[in-house]
Protein backbone atom coordinates (compact mmCIF):
# COMPACT_ATOMS: atom_id res chain seq x y z
CA UNK A 1 0.00 0.00 0.00
CA UNK A 2 1.22 3.48 -0.79
CA UNK A 3 2.60 5.88 1.80
CA UNK A 4 -0.28 7.67 3.57
CA UNK A 5 -0.85 11.33 2.73
CA UNK A 6 -1.54 12.19 6.36
CA UNK A 7 -0.93 10.30 9.52
CA UNK A 8 -1.97 11.81 12.84
CA UNK A 9 -0.79 9.94 15.89
CA UNK A 10 -1.90 10.55 19.43
CA UNK A 11 -2.77 14.22 18.93
CA UNK A 12 -3.54 16.29 21.98
CA UNK A 13 -4.81 19.80 21.72
CA UNK A 14 -6.55 22.35 23.92
CA UNK A 15 -7.15 26.05 23.41
CA UNK A 16 -5.41 28.36 25.87
CA UNK A 17 -7.99 28.05 28.54
CA UNK A 18 -10.44 25.29 28.63
CA UNK A 19 -11.48 21.78 27.81
CA UNK A 20 -9.17 19.60 25.76
CA UNK A 21 -10.39 19.44 22.16
CA UNK A 22 -8.32 16.47 21.08
CA UNK A 23 -7.04 13.88 23.49
CA UNK A 24 -5.24 11.12 21.70
CA UNK A 25 -6.63 11.35 18.17
CA UNK A 26 -5.36 8.89 15.55
CA UNK A 27 -6.10 9.13 11.87
CA UNK A 28 -4.66 8.06 8.53
CA UNK A 29 -5.55 9.42 5.12
CA UNK A 30 -4.45 7.59 1.98
CA UNK A 31 -4.57 8.59 -1.66
CA UNK A 32 -8.10 8.32 -3.01
CA UNK A 33 -9.70 8.34 0.44
CA UNK A 34 -12.83 10.44 0.74
CA UNK A 35 -13.54 10.85 4.39
CA UNK A 36 -16.55 12.40 6.04
CA UNK A 37 -15.59 13.99 9.33
CA UNK A 38 -18.64 14.25 11.56
CA UNK A 39 -19.33 15.18 15.13
CA UNK A 40 -21.39 17.55 17.22
CA UNK A 41 -21.07 21.32 16.95
CA UNK A 42 -17.97 22.71 18.61
CA UNK A 43 -16.39 19.32 19.07
CA UNK A 44 -13.24 20.39 17.21
CA UNK A 45 -13.62 19.30 13.60
CA UNK A 46 -12.33 22.59 12.19
CA UNK A 47 -9.56 22.55 14.79
CA UNK A 48 -8.45 19.15 13.49
CA UNK A 49 -8.17 20.47 9.92
CA UNK A 50 -6.24 23.50 11.14
CA UNK A 51 -3.85 21.23 13.04
CA UNK A 52 -3.26 19.20 9.89
CA UNK A 53 -1.99 22.24 7.98
CA UNK A 54 -0.17 23.75 10.93
CA UNK A 55 -2.41 26.76 11.52
CA UNK A 56 -2.60 25.43 15.07
CA UNK A 57 0.08 23.44 16.86
CA UNK A 58 -0.71 20.30 18.79
CA UNK A 59 0.51 20.17 22.37
CA UNK A 60 1.44 16.51 22.02
CA UNK A 61 1.42 13.89 19.31
CA UNK A 62 2.64 13.88 15.77
CA UNK A 63 1.42 15.16 12.43
CA UNK A 64 2.96 13.34 9.51
CA UNK A 65 2.18 14.75 6.09
CA UNK A 66 3.32 13.53 2.68
CA UNK A 67 5.77 11.08 4.19
CA UNK A 68 7.46 13.36 6.70
CA UNK A 69 6.84 14.43 10.27
CA UNK A 70 5.85 18.11 10.41
CA UNK A 71 6.70 20.05 13.51
CA UNK A 72 7.78 23.61 12.81
CA UNK A 73 6.15 26.38 10.82
CA UNK A 74 8.60 25.92 7.95
CA UNK A 75 7.62 22.23 7.65
CA UNK A 76 4.02 23.28 7.19
CA UNK A 77 4.74 25.97 4.60
CA UNK A 78 5.34 23.10 2.20
CA UNK A 79 2.28 21.17 3.37
CA UNK A 80 -0.30 23.92 2.88
CA UNK A 81 -0.31 24.19 -0.91
CA UNK A 82 -0.46 20.39 -1.09
CA UNK A 83 -3.41 20.18 1.30
CA UNK A 84 -5.94 22.76 0.11
CA UNK A 85 -8.15 23.98 2.93
CA UNK A 86 -11.53 25.44 2.02
CA UNK A 87 -12.71 27.69 4.83
CA UNK A 88 -16.20 27.70 6.25
CA UNK A 89 -16.78 31.35 5.40
CA UNK A 90 -15.70 32.27 1.89
CA UNK A 91 -15.39 35.90 2.97
CA UNK A 92 -12.33 34.81 4.93
CA UNK A 93 -10.78 33.24 1.89
CA UNK A 94 -11.48 35.84 -0.77
CA UNK A 95 -9.65 38.97 0.22
CA UNK A 96 -8.54 40.42 -3.12
CA UNK A 97 -10.67 43.02 -4.89
CA UNK A 98 -11.25 40.97 -8.02
CA UNK A 99 -11.83 37.29 -8.70
CA UNK A 100 -8.83 36.84 -10.97
CA UNK A 101 -6.46 38.46 -8.49
CA UNK A 102 -7.74 36.21 -5.76
CA UNK A 103 -7.26 33.07 -7.80
CA UNK A 104 -3.83 34.31 -8.89
CA UNK A 105 -2.71 34.89 -5.28
CA UNK A 106 -1.75 31.26 -4.59
CA UNK A 107 0.12 30.52 -7.83
CA UNK A 108 2.02 33.82 -7.55
CA UNK A 109 3.04 32.90 -4.01
CA UNK A 110 4.31 29.59 -5.34
CA UNK A 111 6.59 31.50 -7.69
CA UNK A 112 4.68 31.14 -10.95
CA UNK A 113 5.21 33.87 -13.53
CA UNK A 114 2.44 36.36 -14.30
CA UNK A 115 1.86 34.97 -17.77
CA UNK A 116 1.67 31.44 -16.44
CA UNK A 117 -0.64 32.54 -13.65
CA UNK A 118 -2.97 34.24 -16.08
CA UNK A 119 -3.34 30.97 -17.97
CA UNK A 120 -3.88 29.05 -14.74
CA UNK A 121 -6.60 31.48 -13.70
CA UNK A 122 -8.40 31.13 -17.03
CA UNK A 123 -8.24 27.36 -16.84
CA UNK A 124 -9.46 27.29 -13.25
CA UNK A 125 -12.43 29.54 -14.02
CA UNK A 126 -13.34 27.50 -17.08
CA UNK A 127 -13.17 24.21 -15.19
CA UNK A 128 -15.67 25.46 -12.63
CA UNK A 129 -17.95 27.07 -15.20
CA UNK A 130 -17.09 30.58 -14.03
CA UNK A 131 -15.98 32.04 -17.35
CA UNK A 132 -16.33 35.80 -17.49
CA UNK A 133 -15.91 36.22 -13.73
CA UNK A 134 -12.30 37.48 -13.97
CA UNK A 135 -12.95 41.09 -13.15
CA UNK A 136 -15.95 40.66 -10.91
CA UNK A 137 -15.52 42.24 -7.51
CA UNK A 138 -15.37 39.46 -4.90
CA UNK A 139 -17.53 41.03 -2.23
CA UNK A 140 -20.32 41.63 -4.71
CA UNK A 141 -20.64 37.95 -5.66
CA UNK A 142 -23.54 35.86 -4.37
CA UNK A 143 -22.86 33.36 -1.59
CA UNK A 144 -22.84 30.44 -4.02
CA UNK A 145 -20.53 32.14 -6.50
CA UNK A 146 -18.24 33.08 -3.64
CA UNK A 147 -17.98 29.46 -2.51
CA UNK A 148 -17.13 28.30 -6.03
CA UNK A 149 -14.50 31.01 -6.45
CA UNK A 150 -13.04 30.07 -3.05
CA UNK A 151 -12.84 26.47 -4.26
CA UNK A 152 -11.08 27.70 -7.38
CA UNK A 153 -8.50 29.54 -5.28
CA UNK A 154 -7.74 26.23 -3.56
CA UNK A 155 -7.75 24.08 -6.68
CA UNK A 156 -5.30 26.28 -8.61
CA UNK A 157 -2.58 25.26 -6.19
CA UNK A 158 -2.94 21.67 -7.44
CA UNK A 159 -3.40 20.16 -4.00
CA UNK A 160 -3.11 16.43 -3.42
CA UNK A 161 -5.59 16.58 -0.59
CA UNK A 162 -8.70 18.72 -0.14
CA UNK A 163 -9.84 19.69 3.34
CA UNK A 164 -13.37 21.03 3.02
CA UNK A 165 -14.92 22.75 6.01
CA UNK A 166 -18.70 22.72 5.63
CA UNK A 167 -18.63 23.32 1.88
CA UNK A 168 -22.42 23.20 1.45
CA UNK A 169 -23.13 25.55 4.32
CA UNK A 170 -25.68 28.17 3.24
CA UNK A 171 -25.70 27.08 -0.40
CA UNK A 172 -28.86 26.96 -2.47
CA UNK A 173 -29.93 23.60 -3.92
CA UNK A 174 -28.60 24.42 -7.38
CA UNK A 175 -25.12 25.47 -6.29
CA UNK A 176 -24.97 22.55 -3.88
CA UNK A 177 -25.72 20.17 -6.77
CA UNK A 178 -23.06 21.88 -8.87
CA UNK A 179 -20.54 21.54 -6.06
CA UNK A 180 -21.28 17.80 -5.77
CA UNK A 181 -20.72 17.39 -9.52
CA UNK A 182 -17.42 19.26 -9.28
CA UNK A 183 -16.18 17.31 -6.26
CA UNK A 184 -17.20 14.01 -7.88
CA UNK A 185 -14.98 14.80 -10.82
CA UNK A 186 -11.89 15.56 -8.73
CA UNK A 187 -9.14 12.98 -8.19
CA UNK A 188 -7.93 14.32 -4.82
CA UNK A 189 -8.25 12.62 -1.47
CA UNK A 190 -10.67 14.59 0.69
CA UNK A 191 -11.72 15.19 4.22
CA UNK A 192 -15.16 16.78 4.33
CA UNK A 193 -16.76 18.33 7.38
CA UNK A 194 -20.49 18.59 6.96
CA UNK A 195 -23.81 18.06 8.68
CA UNK A 196 -25.48 17.44 5.33
CA UNK A 197 -26.08 13.67 5.35
CA UNK A 198 -27.13 13.40 1.72
CA UNK A 199 -24.10 15.39 0.60
CA UNK A 200 -21.76 13.18 2.60
CA UNK A 201 -23.17 9.93 1.20
CA UNK A 202 -22.80 11.24 -2.32
CA UNK A 203 -19.28 12.60 -1.98
CA UNK A 204 -17.47 10.43 0.57
CA UNK A 205 -17.00 6.69 1.18
CA UNK A 206 -15.53 6.60 4.67
CA UNK A 207 -16.89 7.97 7.93
CA UNK A 208 -14.90 9.23 10.86
CA UNK A 209 -16.57 10.60 13.94
CA UNK A 210 -14.93 13.01 16.36
CA UNK A 211 -16.16 12.41 19.88
CA UNK A 212 -14.62 13.30 23.22
CA UNK A 213 -11.31 14.18 21.63
CA UNK A 214 -10.91 10.94 19.73
CA UNK A 215 -11.60 9.87 16.16
CA UNK A 216 -13.75 6.83 15.60
CA UNK A 217 -14.17 5.01 12.30
CA UNK A 218 -17.58 4.14 10.99
Amino acid sequence: MSEPLFRLSDLHFAYDSGQPVLSGAHFTLRAGDRVALTGANGVGKTTLLHLMVGLLKAQAGQVEAFGRPRIHEKDFVEVRPRAGLLFQDSDDQLFCPTVSEDIAFGPLNLGKSRAETRMIVQRALASLGLEGFENRVTHKLSGGQRRLVALATVLVMNPEVLLLDEPTNALDAETRERLIQILDGLPQAMIVISHDEDFLTRVTQRRVRLEQGRLMEG
Partner: protein, 283 residues
Protein backbone atom coordinates in the same frame (compact mmCIF):
# COMPACT_ATOMS: atom_id res chain seq x y z
CA UNK B 1 -8.21 27.49 -64.99
CA UNK B 2 -11.14 29.73 -64.36
CA UNK B 3 -12.58 27.32 -61.85
CA UNK B 4 -9.28 26.87 -60.10
CA UNK B 5 -8.83 30.65 -59.88
CA UNK B 6 -12.27 31.15 -58.49
CA UNK B 7 -11.85 28.28 -56.09
CA UNK B 8 -8.55 29.69 -54.90
CA UNK B 9 -10.17 33.09 -54.57
CA UNK B 10 -12.96 31.56 -52.57
CA UNK B 11 -10.44 29.68 -50.56
CA UNK B 12 -8.50 32.79 -49.71
CA UNK B 13 -11.68 34.62 -48.92
CA UNK B 14 -12.79 31.86 -46.62
CA UNK B 15 -9.38 31.81 -45.08
CA UNK B 16 -9.47 35.51 -44.48
CA UNK B 17 -13.00 35.62 -43.29
CA UNK B 18 -12.68 32.65 -40.99
CA UNK B 19 -10.25 34.07 -38.45
CA UNK B 20 -11.96 37.37 -38.87
CA UNK B 21 -15.42 35.97 -38.42
CA UNK B 22 -15.33 36.29 -34.70
CA UNK B 23 -13.29 39.46 -34.91
CA UNK B 24 -15.66 41.17 -37.31
CA UNK B 25 -18.53 40.33 -35.05
CA UNK B 26 -16.83 41.33 -31.88
CA UNK B 27 -14.36 44.07 -32.65
CA UNK B 28 -16.50 46.71 -34.36
CA UNK B 29 -19.18 46.22 -31.77
CA UNK B 30 -16.77 46.61 -28.93
CA UNK B 31 -14.89 49.38 -30.64
CA UNK B 32 -18.09 51.21 -31.50
CA UNK B 33 -19.27 50.77 -27.97
CA UNK B 34 -16.08 52.17 -26.63
CA UNK B 35 -16.00 55.06 -29.02
CA UNK B 36 -19.61 55.85 -28.19
CA UNK B 37 -18.76 55.47 -24.54
CA UNK B 38 -15.80 57.80 -24.88
CA UNK B 39 -17.74 60.40 -26.82
CA UNK B 40 -20.58 60.63 -24.33
CA UNK B 41 -18.33 60.26 -21.31
CA UNK B 42 -16.51 63.31 -19.96
CA UNK B 43 -12.94 63.47 -21.22
CA UNK B 44 -11.54 63.42 -17.71
CA UNK B 45 -12.88 59.94 -17.11
CA UNK B 46 -10.80 58.53 -19.94
CA UNK B 47 -7.52 59.79 -18.49
CA UNK B 48 -5.26 57.17 -16.95
CA UNK B 49 -6.09 56.68 -13.27
CA UNK B 50 -2.44 56.98 -12.22
CA UNK B 51 -2.19 60.40 -13.79
CA UNK B 52 -5.39 61.56 -12.20
CA UNK B 53 -4.16 60.38 -8.83
CA UNK B 54 -0.77 62.03 -9.28
CA UNK B 55 -2.34 65.28 -10.48
CA UNK B 56 -4.68 65.26 -7.50
CA UNK B 57 -1.75 64.75 -5.12
CA UNK B 58 0.25 67.53 -6.76
CA UNK B 59 -2.70 69.91 -6.64
CA UNK B 60 -3.40 69.18 -2.97
CA UNK B 61 0.24 69.60 -2.05
CA UNK B 62 0.50 72.98 -3.77
CA UNK B 63 -2.84 74.31 -2.55
CA UNK B 64 -2.00 73.45 1.06
CA UNK B 65 1.14 75.57 0.70
CA UNK B 66 -0.61 78.62 -0.80
CA UNK B 67 -1.21 81.62 1.45
CA UNK B 68 -2.36 84.38 -0.90
CA UNK B 69 -6.08 84.83 -1.42
CA UNK B 70 -5.86 85.46 -5.22
CA UNK B 71 -3.85 82.26 -5.68
CA UNK B 72 -6.33 80.34 -3.53
CA UNK B 73 -9.28 81.76 -5.46
CA UNK B 74 -7.60 80.67 -8.68
CA UNK B 75 -7.08 77.20 -7.23
CA UNK B 76 -10.76 77.04 -6.30
CA UNK B 77 -11.71 78.19 -9.79
CA UNK B 78 -9.44 75.53 -11.32
CA UNK B 79 -11.07 72.86 -9.16
CA UNK B 80 -14.47 74.19 -10.17
CA UNK B 81 -13.53 73.94 -13.85
CA UNK B 82 -12.31 70.39 -13.27
CA UNK B 83 -15.64 69.50 -11.70
CA UNK B 84 -17.49 71.02 -14.67
CA UNK B 85 -15.31 68.96 -16.99
CA UNK B 86 -15.85 65.78 -15.02
CA UNK B 87 -19.62 66.29 -14.79
CA UNK B 88 -20.18 64.23 -11.66
CA UNK B 89 -23.70 63.60 -10.39
CA UNK B 90 -24.94 66.80 -8.83
CA UNK B 91 -26.67 65.58 -5.68
CA UNK B 92 -23.85 63.45 -4.19
CA UNK B 93 -21.32 66.18 -5.01
CA UNK B 94 -23.34 68.84 -3.26
CA UNK B 95 -23.95 66.54 -0.31
CA UNK B 96 -20.24 65.94 -0.01
CA UNK B 97 -19.48 69.66 -0.12
CA UNK B 98 -22.24 70.44 2.37
CA UNK B 99 -20.84 67.87 4.78
CA UNK B 100 -17.36 69.35 4.46
CA UNK B 101 -18.44 72.96 4.77
CA UNK B 102 -20.82 72.28 7.64
CA UNK B 103 -17.95 70.76 9.55
CA UNK B 104 -15.49 73.45 8.51
CA UNK B 105 -17.78 76.37 9.41
CA UNK B 106 -18.33 74.91 12.82
CA UNK B 107 -14.57 74.63 13.40
CA UNK B 108 -13.66 77.92 11.75
CA UNK B 109 -16.29 79.92 13.58
CA UNK B 110 -14.02 80.25 16.60
CA UNK B 111 -10.87 81.09 14.67
CA UNK B 112 -11.41 84.90 14.39
CA UNK B 113 -11.96 85.08 18.14
CA UNK B 114 -8.89 83.08 19.12
CA UNK B 115 -6.26 84.49 16.77
CA UNK B 116 -4.82 87.75 18.13
CA UNK B 117 -4.58 90.77 15.82
CA UNK B 118 -6.35 93.86 14.53
CA UNK B 119 -10.00 94.01 15.61
CA UNK B 120 -12.67 93.74 12.89
CA UNK B 121 -15.84 93.32 14.92
CA UNK B 122 -16.85 92.18 18.34
CA UNK B 123 -19.52 89.76 19.49
CA UNK B 124 -20.74 89.82 23.06
CA UNK B 125 -17.62 91.55 24.13
CA UNK B 126 -15.18 89.13 22.45
CA UNK B 127 -13.25 90.64 19.59
CA UNK B 128 -12.68 89.04 16.23
CA UNK B 129 -9.36 89.75 14.56
CA UNK B 130 -8.66 90.50 10.92
CA UNK B 131 -5.90 87.88 10.92
CA UNK B 132 -8.29 85.30 12.29
CA UNK B 133 -10.92 85.98 9.63
CA UNK B 134 -8.24 85.80 6.96
CA UNK B 135 -7.00 82.47 8.25
CA UNK B 136 -10.52 81.07 8.37
CA UNK B 137 -11.18 82.14 4.78
CA UNK B 138 -7.84 80.69 3.71
CA UNK B 139 -8.58 77.30 5.26
CA UNK B 140 -12.08 77.26 3.84
CA UNK B 141 -10.79 78.00 0.33
CA UNK B 142 -8.05 75.38 0.58
CA UNK B 143 -10.37 72.66 1.82
CA UNK B 144 -12.99 73.34 -0.82
CA UNK B 145 -10.47 73.53 -3.65
CA UNK B 146 -8.86 70.22 -2.68
CA UNK B 147 -12.14 68.41 -2.12
CA UNK B 148 -13.58 69.66 -5.39
CA UNK B 149 -10.46 68.49 -7.23
CA UNK B 150 -10.65 65.08 -5.57
CA UNK B 151 -14.32 64.80 -6.53
CA UNK B 152 -13.51 65.80 -10.10
CA UNK B 153 -10.47 63.60 -10.64
CA UNK B 154 -11.03 60.61 -8.40
CA UNK B 155 -14.79 60.66 -7.88
CA UNK B 156 -15.46 58.55 -10.94
CA UNK B 157 -12.83 55.96 -10.03
CA UNK B 158 -13.99 52.78 -8.36
CA UNK B 159 -12.16 51.88 -5.18
CA UNK B 160 -10.54 48.89 -6.86
CA UNK B 161 -9.33 51.05 -9.74
CA UNK B 162 -7.99 53.55 -7.25
CA UNK B 163 -6.13 50.81 -5.39
CA UNK B 164 -4.60 49.52 -8.59
CA UNK B 165 -3.59 53.03 -9.60
CA UNK B 166 -1.88 53.48 -6.23
CA UNK B 167 -0.05 50.19 -6.68
CA UNK B 168 1.09 51.16 -10.16
CA UNK B 169 2.32 54.50 -8.86
CA UNK B 170 4.55 52.46 -6.56
CA UNK B 171 3.04 53.75 -3.37
CA UNK B 172 4.11 51.56 -0.43
CA UNK B 173 2.66 48.07 -0.80
CA UNK B 174 1.49 48.03 2.82
CA UNK B 175 -0.48 51.23 2.29
CA UNK B 176 -2.12 49.94 -0.88
CA UNK B 177 -2.99 46.62 0.74
CA UNK B 178 -4.40 48.37 3.79
CA UNK B 179 -6.60 50.42 1.50
CA UNK B 180 -7.77 47.42 -0.50
CA UNK B 181 -8.42 45.35 2.63
CA UNK B 182 -10.51 48.20 4.00
CA UNK B 183 -12.51 48.37 0.80
CA UNK B 184 -12.94 44.61 0.78
CA UNK B 185 -14.00 44.16 4.37
CA UNK B 186 -15.84 47.33 5.29
CA UNK B 187 -18.97 45.86 3.80
CA UNK B 188 -18.49 42.56 5.63
CA UNK B 189 -18.13 44.43 8.92
CA UNK B 190 -21.13 46.57 8.07
CA UNK B 191 -23.16 43.41 7.41
CA UNK B 192 -22.04 42.05 10.75
CA UNK B 193 -23.02 45.31 12.48
CA UNK B 194 -26.44 45.30 10.85
CA UNK B 195 -27.04 41.67 11.77
CA UNK B 196 -26.26 42.35 15.42
CA UNK B 197 -28.31 45.54 15.38
CA UNK B 198 -31.31 43.78 13.85
CA UNK B 199 -31.02 41.01 16.39
CA UNK B 200 -31.07 43.63 19.14
CA UNK B 201 -34.10 45.34 17.64
CA UNK B 202 -35.85 41.99 17.31
CA UNK B 203 -35.56 41.65 21.04
CA UNK B 204 -37.12 45.03 21.63
CA UNK B 205 -33.98 47.14 22.02
CA UNK B 206 -34.43 50.86 21.49
CA UNK B 207 -31.89 53.61 21.90
CA UNK B 208 -32.72 55.39 25.14
CA UNK B 209 -30.80 57.57 27.46
CA UNK B 210 -30.10 55.08 30.19
CA UNK B 211 -27.39 52.81 31.45
CA UNK B 212 -28.88 49.76 29.74
CA UNK B 213 -28.58 51.47 26.33
CA UNK B 214 -25.01 52.53 26.94
CA UNK B 215 -24.02 49.08 28.11
CA UNK B 216 -25.74 47.34 25.20
CA UNK B 217 -24.18 49.65 22.62
CA UNK B 218 -20.84 49.04 24.31
CA UNK B 219 -21.36 45.29 23.98
CA UNK B 220 -22.33 45.77 20.33
CA UNK B 221 -19.12 47.60 19.44
CA UNK B 222 -17.04 45.34 21.64
CA UNK B 223 -18.48 42.34 19.85
CA UNK B 224 -17.78 43.95 16.46
CA UNK B 225 -14.18 44.52 17.49
CA UNK B 226 -13.76 40.94 18.70
CA UNK B 227 -15.33 39.58 15.53
CA UNK B 228 -13.17 41.87 13.44
CA UNK B 229 -10.02 40.55 15.09
CA UNK B 230 -11.17 36.96 14.73
CA UNK B 231 -11.95 37.52 11.09
CA UNK B 232 -8.56 39.11 10.52
CA UNK B 233 -6.95 36.03 12.04
CA UNK B 234 -8.97 33.72 9.82
CA UNK B 235 -8.11 35.77 6.73
CA UNK B 236 -4.42 35.59 7.55
CA UNK B 237 -4.75 31.84 8.13
CA UNK B 238 -6.44 31.45 4.75
CA UNK B 239 -3.69 33.50 3.14
CA UNK B 240 -1.00 31.37 4.75
CA UNK B 241 -2.77 28.28 3.43
CA UNK B 242 -2.22 29.65 -0.03
CA UNK B 243 1.48 30.14 0.49
CA UNK B 244 1.50 33.73 1.75
CA UNK B 245 4.76 34.55 3.50
CA UNK B 246 4.56 38.29 3.84
CA UNK B 247 5.06 39.33 0.24
CA UNK B 248 2.47 40.47 -2.24
CA UNK B 249 2.97 39.88 -5.91
CA UNK B 250 0.72 42.31 -7.75
CA UNK B 251 -0.95 41.04 -10.90
CA UNK B 252 -1.76 44.45 -12.29
CA UNK B 253 -0.17 45.96 -15.30
CA UNK B 254 -0.39 49.46 -16.64
CA UNK B 255 -2.13 50.39 -19.85
CA UNK B 256 0.03 52.39 -22.24
CA UNK B 257 -0.30 56.13 -21.89
CA UNK B 258 -1.88 57.87 -24.88
CA UNK B 259 -2.04 61.41 -26.25
CA UNK B 260 -4.98 62.35 -24.09
CA UNK B 261 -2.97 61.39 -21.01
CA UNK B 262 0.00 63.48 -22.11
CA UNK B 263 -2.28 66.45 -22.69
CA UNK B 264 -3.76 66.02 -19.23
CA UNK B 265 -0.32 65.76 -17.63
CA UNK B 266 0.84 68.90 -19.44
CA UNK B 267 -2.24 70.81 -18.36
CA UNK B 268 -1.79 69.72 -14.75
CA UNK B 269 1.81 70.81 -14.61
CA UNK B 270 0.93 74.15 -16.25
CA UNK B 271 -1.84 74.76 -13.71
CA UNK B 272 0.51 73.89 -10.85
CA UNK B 273 3.15 76.31 -12.15
CA UNK B 274 0.52 79.04 -12.60
CA UNK B 275 -0.58 78.65 -8.97
CA UNK B 276 3.00 78.90 -7.72
CA UNK B 277 3.68 81.97 -9.87
CA UNK B 278 0.51 83.65 -8.63
CA UNK B 279 1.53 82.97 -5.05
CA UNK B 280 4.92 84.63 -5.57
CA UNK B 281 3.48 87.58 -7.47
CA UNK B 282 1.19 88.47 -4.58
CA UNK B 283 3.51 87.85 -1.68
Amino acid sequence: MNTSASSSAMHSLAKVSHPHASVTIYLPLKKGDREGFRASEPLLKTVDARLRLAACGLFALIVVGLTQIPALLTALALAGCAVLAARPELAPTLRCLAALDGFMLFILFFLPFTVPGEMVFSLNGTTASYEGVLQAVEILLKANAVVLMILALLGSLGSVELGHAMARLRLPVKFVQLFLFTVRYIEVLDREYRRLRTAMKARGFRLRCDLHTWRSVGYLFGMLLVRGIERAERILAAMRCRGFQGHFYPMTEAKPVDRRDYAFAGLSVAAACALIVLEYLHS
